[in-house]
Amino acid sequence: MAAETVDTAGLHDWITRFGAAVAEKREWLTELDSAIGDADHGANMARGMSAVSEKLASSAPAAADDLLKTAGMTLVSSVGGASGPLYGTFFLRMGMAAGAVQELDAPALAAALRAGLEGIVARGKAEPGDKTLLDAMSPAVDAFDAALAGGGDLAEAAKNAAVAAATGRDATLPLVARKGRASYLGERSAGHLDPGAASTALLFESLDATIAAG
């Protein structure tokens, strides 16, 4: 049976897995962004996550909030573009919600994820259906909460969130973008996956893998 909490090392593991996934899928993310954006989402996320890895390698904080805030600040100051402030805000807000603890239980992690999501909404002012990373993240966080509310454990919540994120990513395919660069394409943005939703699916896939391994 998987652990019922995730500690700072676990969060670190999550971030490392996400970085590895982004590095592996870098070209695919850029290809998605070529179709309806400016061909840099893979480069952006890879640059940011490798900066985060380096930063955490040089001094990994012991407290959950320090770890998450460091990741967020590093993303903000190394990515640029739309995804930098958005993913950066996500981790910053998660850190603020988590507080100076060494481990998070399932409800605490759920609250942190929700805070991260709300940070993205506050920054980016997108709504579900706008064909952005929200379309993967919002159902993922909802699914996480729902699993816990239904009596599921951390592992089930993480698994359901990963599935919901992937489903949300795929659901961006037919959408006409209303936010971000893809919105300039109007109707032509339909028929393509949103690159940010694709990287967000990797984020929750990585979380699931971390919890399952933990």
Binding site: S34, G37, D38, A82, P85, R178, S183, R188
Partner: protein, 330 residues
Amino acid sequence: MKKLINAPEDVLVESLKGVAAAHPELAVDLETHVITRAEPKAQGKVAVVSGGGSGHEPLHGGYVGRGMLDAAVAGEVFTSPTPDRVQAATKAVDRGAGVLHIVKNYTGDVLNFEMAAELAAMEGIEVGTVVVDDDVAVQDSLYTAGRRGVGLTVLLEKLVGAAAEEGQDLAAVVALAQRVNGQGRSMGMALTSCTVPAAGKPTFELPDDQMEIGIGIHGEPGRHREPLAPASEIARQLVEPILADLDAAGPAIVMLNGMGATPLIELYLMYGEVAALLERAGVQIARNLVGDYITSLDMAGCSLTVLKADDELLRLWDAPVVTPGLRWGA
């Protein structure tokens, strides 16, 4: 990918090194990618800062200098710079009279400059912001990211730079910037895609007999694709949507801009077509620019910008400017 580069990941810094070597009148920070004037303005003058993704040269670094920008922040290719770097530029040029941020309307640019302005506020620096959104290729709406910021940015940086140089205060400079943004519009088209160095191949494929109408400056595909047409027809497709959105009769400043791989002989030919159409529509071209001013890497194509002018704007336009990209009167 055929480019005069070394490793794709070094393009930005190595290009900035070249800028530093070529322009002793600029100070180029190879860490933060911030370009400032070697001789800063005096205390008490509003500072004008712009920035954005690289790949649009001479924008923005080439517009740093007397009568135009105080600082430019170069992001990675087509990627807005990060808030800490915008903040570094802001601090470097603040002379106690406030700083104007000129931001092109892209989610990334808007978010990063917004965070930078929050950082500046925390340090007690007054920041005004203008978000340029002149691209008529994009339908504006309350529910979308709105129009893109493209060619008008060049004209706005010149005009606002002149106002700041002559000592106008932040409120006046911001008001001018808003006014200029309100009365300028642009429209672009591409014959070819561009190739982002890190991507290594063209952002979109455009068959030999097709062109993209309504492109931005990031190799984004345009609003639609259609068969390659003669220059006269292309000119019509640039002029009409602008005039449909802006009552431009009367004096105007007009820019016919190359996207990076379009030779001057073609730009002049296009300018001839465009000028004739505009004049037929009652636009009196008082000043013009023809050349590469806001590019999209190695894209072939062009964009047209029309800014309604008046005596005050023409006076500011004619004020001396000494930058690598624009220079007159000194």
